[in-house]
Amino acid sequence: MANTSYRREYLKLVDDHGAAVLAMLRRLCGNVPDAEDAFQETAVRVWKSFDRQPPLRSPRAWLMTIAYRAFVDLHARRPQGDVLTDVADYRLHSPGDAAVKVEEATQLGTAVEELSENLRQVVVLHYTGGLTLQETAEVLGISTGTVKSRLSAALSKLRSILS
């Protein structure tokens, strides 16, 4: 069933978008082990559906959609875990810069964690997942207008949290 070209494309997907998928899942799950489980589940689902539906139009959006659904299924089975403090992103910076960036990112990350589930998912899919407004709407099964209104609400909420 699986031929070499499928396999090559499949591995290219993870090389191109795997880091973004894992980052998105970490933000959605709120902890690393659950995010890694969702990532593994994503890999299985992508491979299973790869020969049936090659992601020709927008591989990233296709991948993020599958990852999001894996998260939703995992989330339904498991309670929320620890809040993520993702300092690893900044380990490649100099110590001084890293300290400032970690502080800022932690503030922002904590503020995002405080958003309601609906607002947080829109923010994470749009900003971390890199999905357009329309793609975000398709993944969540809502209208583009709703995505815009949730993003607006999220920004206003974040402003009040951070100030």
Binding site: R7, L11, E36, V44, L108
Partner: protein, 189 residues
């Protein structure tokens, strides 16, 4: 342009194209703060560290499941990564075991002498209304709870051994993760 229009333009990513929006943000501190948060979200939330090699191995393994020519090293790497994650979760969920075991032993040590005292004490007490009679010959049946106690202690010991082994594996896992980080940052040394 008012604040509502600005927010609409901001979430539609049209702000850089609109001079009106730029003018508005210069005169409105609230919207300036919104624009700053939007920029931080775009930068901070979009940045991600490189995908760890073990996660790529997990991805690869999903395909290898249906391909028999997977190398043993690949499968071992995936298995280790998966076991590490499962074990980490298991350890978090079992952190109550040691205090529970200690509480069980303490309860046994307190209640066994009390139970013994009540049973033997009742039989040796003088029955009311019969005056001073010589105490009847009491058939003392000693309670031999040694076996049960030994069994419980053995269970506690087994739990302790299991926890020690778990702690060792956790240390090994931490060391492996630290090695991953060191390898990932090797070029910056």
């Amino acid at each position: 342009m008012n604040c509502e229009d600005f927010l609409e333009a901001l979430v539609s990513s049209e702000v850089p194209q609109q001079s009106e929006a730029r003018d508005h943000v210069n005169s409105c501190s609230n919207c300036a703060k919104l624009a700053e948060i939007h920029a931080r979200l775009q930068h901070d939330l979009a940045s991600s560290e490189p995908l760890p090699q073990r996660m790529r191995a997990i991805w690869q393994a999903a395909a290898d499941e249906s391909m028999p020519n997977t190398s043993i090293a690949q499968r071992l790497q995936v298995q280790l990564a998966s076991e590490g994650r499962n074990f980490s979760r298991q350890l978090r969920s079992q952190s109550y075991v040691l205090p529970l075991a200690a509480a069980t032993v303490a309860a046994i040590l307190i209640f066994l002498p009390l139970a013994f005292w009540f049973v033997v004490g009742d039989r040796m007490a003088v029955q009311p209304g019969l005056g001073h009679q010589p105490p009847p010959q009491v058939a003392v049946h000693p309670i031999d709870a040694t076996a049960e106690l030994d069994e419980l202690l053995a269970q506690v010991n087994a739990l302790e051994v299991e926890l020690n082994a778990a702690a060792s594996r956790a240390q090994l896992l931490d060391a492996r993760r630290e090695a991953d980080v060191l390898l990932a940052t090797y070029n910056n040394w």
